[in-house]
């Protein structure tokens, strides 16, 4: 009858041992009391004797493996009996020892890596601030790099942030003189620019200065689109309904197919007309705005576009935007229709060639067959870099866009 041999407890507080070396190989004869294997504990390497005699039939543990005391490590029996039932290998908690030696902990016994907290270090310069100051800075969205620290070693402490915030200095603790009654004047509030604000400022200031912008406005007949949207949304569950902007994004993308020169970037003295059409959508986030991008907008369905924009916008607002969400746009759009803006002019996102600013869709009096009627109209204004394109092309693009917006079934095919 074959016998299973387990990792022996070789010391009072031994919990696990390393099978360093099989002295008897599989198939070798072994007498009771003969050395079967060398086992290493954290105190020493010990020659372990086999409690049974016979033939070594199975090694259940490989050389170098660490297993807990009591784990089956070998089977000794007669040369030909069936030992398949005893062929039980230890589970994955036993991890092979590397060359470094010692006892590695199993993956399950290691704690999760410490959570990475967002770093309040800007660039290479380490900002010294007390934990309290950092907390206040986080809560009030204050940029610590703009604050002078007066603590030891230039450490920023709470009072530094408080002073940066208020124009009123701290009253001296020792003064006992009576303050005359003064009528309080309204105080200025000093707000330090966040990193996002600074970045937006830099890029768009460059854009406005470098790119010779020109602008065209086109008033779109939105009746068919509004009706189609109503119909389609009637069939969609709550939370998945399409917005007017979803339609506009698709329409823009399809129109850009016909005008590759507006789906382009200026690169020195060459114009790169992009193969992909990735339309960007401006999203308001705390402290500024971000442009999230729908890749291959022309090839996606309205529902897909809608879902993608919703999830990317949510990520952006929550500060969890992925790099992929905001890189690679070939044409941008911005929609202020929800704020009742009739029309506006946007600044091109460099290095793109153009940006489309969309106003609100509203019901207005219109001329129809010589009569006054009520119709849905929406103004969109395109800003174009005159180094890349000119008025006629831009105007024709806006006409092409009309095709898709005013005959919205085209968006479905």
């Amino acid at each position: 009858m074959a016998e299973t041999i387990s990792m022996p407890k070789l010391g009072f507080d031994m919990a696990e041992g390393t099978l360093v070396h099989w002295v008897k190989k599989i198939g070798e004869e072994i007498g009771q009391g003969d050395v079967l294997a060398e086992i290493e504990t954290d105190k020493a390497t010990v020659e372990v004797e086999s409690p049974a005699g016979g033939v070594v039939r199975l090694h259940l543990v490989d050389e170098g493996m660490v297993v807990p005391v009591g784990t089956p490590i070998a089977v000794v029996g007669t040369a030909d009996e069936d030992v398949s039932a005893m062929d039980v290998r230890p589970n994955e908690s036993a991890v092979p020892v590397g060359d470094a030696g010692g006892e590695p902990e199993s993956a399950s016994s290691m704690g999760a890596p410490p959570p990475v907290t967002p770093d309040i270090n800007y660039g290479d310069r380490r900002i010294k601030a007390s934990p309290l100051a950092k907390k206040i800075a986080r809560d009030k969205e204050v940029d610590l790099s703009a604050i002078e620290g007066t603590g030891p070693g230039g450490r920023i402490v709470r009072r530094d942030i408080e002073e940066a915030y208020s124009a009123v200095g701290r009253p001296a603790a020792q003064t006992e003189s009576v303050q005359p009654e003064v009528i309080k004047k309204p105080q200025d509030k000093i707000v330090t620019l966040t990193r996002l604000r600074q970045a937006i400022g830099r890029r768009l200031a460059d854009s406005k200065q470098q790119a010779p912008h020109f602008y065209l406005t086109h008033d779109y007949k939105m009746d068919a689109l509004m009706a189609l949207r109503k119909q389609v949304n009637g069939m969609l569950p709550d939370g998945e309904k399409l917005s007017v902007n979803d339609f506009i994004l698709k329409a823009t993308a399809l129109a850009l197919r016909e005008f590759p020169n507006l789906n382009a970037s200026l690169d020195g003295d060459t114009i790169v007309q992009h193969g992909q059409i990735n339309v960007g959508v401006a999203v308001t986030v705390p402290g500024g705005l971000m442009t999230v991008i729908v890749k291959d907008t022309d090839q996606k369905s309205l529902r897909q576009i809608s879902q993608e924009v919703k999830s990317m916008a949510e990520r952006a607002r929550g500060g969890k935007v992925k790099p992929d969400d905001v890189e690679g746009s070939t044409f941008s759009t911005s929609n202020l229709g929800m704020y009742d803006v009739d029309e506006f002019i946007a600044i091109i996102n460099p290095p793109e060639a153009a940006i489309l600013a969309i106003g609100s869709a509203q019901q207005v009096p219109v001329a129809a067959e010589g009569e006054i009627a009520i119709g849905w109209r929406m103004k969109a204004t395109i800003s174009v870099d005159h180094r890349v394109s000119d008025g006629a092309e831009a105007a024709q693009f806006m006409q092409a866009l009309a095709k898709y917006l005013e005959e919205p079934l085209r968006l479905m095919v």
Partner: protein, 324 residues
């Protein structure tokens, strides 16, 4: 209320508890006929007799071991260690027997023992008679460690310790017996394991106990004259350690100093500061400093002894540093 000394407060607590409960008795070196080396038990022997005020041999392990035995069979011994430095002769009894018997016997036995021990330096008694090894005892679960800093706390806490069914190490300070304070008359108890704000303030928190409390109070007075309002939190009990008033205070002031007479390394401050960082990290406006004894065996020479012990100026300097 009466204005009495720490000695009188402790003496009153012992007397009242012995009158109240016949199972309470005192044992220790010179506690009976002599009346106690610090005169705490003066008059007890004549009133309560040798059965209840027992003079022992100079054998701390026998004192504590015997007290544990008495406690196990239902008495309430108050054993005295003439100085806490002698506790090391009875270490196994104090940390291995008394606090663990209840657990290891599965609750079949309780050990309602109080060990009164006198600690601290400043009387030129030499290195082996001047230590403040409080943390050594506070390290062990199962052992309650109390160390009052005012007469009112001393009386109320000693009564609670005597009435507790578990072993309590009650640490007094050799140079504080004549400190006076307001103490309620008659019977009253104070809760073991509760820290107390002894003095409110808004600018900085000082955490201390026993002698450190006395020094910190003087430091707070000096700082108040310079416009700095110190909030003084008295731990009163080292185990179990009540951090709640400490954290509440720290969240208000954001800056703290811990004062102890023991050595800084591995001391009370090390524990208190760790817990503040753990529980109030976002409220830390400056590193928390510890004022403690210099890392030397305490000298016999008077000047050197004072140089090694923490002083009021050290506390004032630490507070100023922490407010920088």
């Amino acid at each position: 209320m009466s204005r009495i000394t720490m000695r009188e407060a402790i003496s009153q607590a012992l007397w009242e508890e012995m009158e109240r409960d016949p199972s309470v008795f005192i044992m220790g070196e010179e506690v009976g006929v002599w009346g106690g080396t610090y005169a705490v038990t003066k008059g007890f022997y004549d009133h309560f007799g040798p059965e209840r005020v027992k003079d022992t041999p100079i054998a701390e392990n026998a004192i504590i071991g015997g007290a544990i035995g008495a406690a196990l069979v239902g008495q309430r011994p108050v054993a005295e260690l003439m100085t806490i430095n002698f506790a090391f002769s009875a270490m196994d009894y104090i940390v291995n027997q008394a606090p663990k018997l209840r657990y290891m016997f599965g609750g079949q036995f309780r050990v309602p023992l109080v060990i009164r021990a006198v600690g601290g330096g400043g009387r030129q008694l030499g290195a082996t008679h001047s230590q403040t090894p409080d943390v050594v005892f506070a390290h062990f679960p199962g052992l309650t460690v109390v160390s009052p800093g005012t007469p009112e706390d001393a009386k109320g806490l000693l009564k609670s310790a005597i009435r507790s069914d578990d072993p309590v190490m009650f640490i007094e300070h050799a140079t504080m017996y004549q400190v006076r304070g307001e103490v309620p008359d008659g019977d009253y108890l104070l809760p073991i394991g509760k820290s107390k704000v002894q003095r409110p303030g808004n600018d900085v928190t000082i955490v201390s106990y026993s002698k450190g409390l006395e020094l910190s109070t003087k430091a707070a007075d000096a700082l108040a004259k310079q416009g700095i309002e110190v909030e003084l939190v008295d731990l009163r009990t080292l185990r179990p350690l009540d951090m709640e008033p400490v954290i509440t205070s720290f969240k208000k002031t954001n800056r703290a100093v811990v004062v102890e007479e023991g050595w800084k390394s591995y001391g009370v401050g090390a524990e208190v500061v760790s817990r503040i960082y753990e529980d109030a990290f976002d409220y830390v406006d400056a590193p928390i400093l510890r004022v403690a004894q210099k890392e030397v065996p305490l000298p016999y020479n008077r000047t050197l002894e004072q140089a090694a012990l923490p002083q009021v100026e050290d506390i004032v300097a630490a507070v100023k540093e922490v407010l920088r």
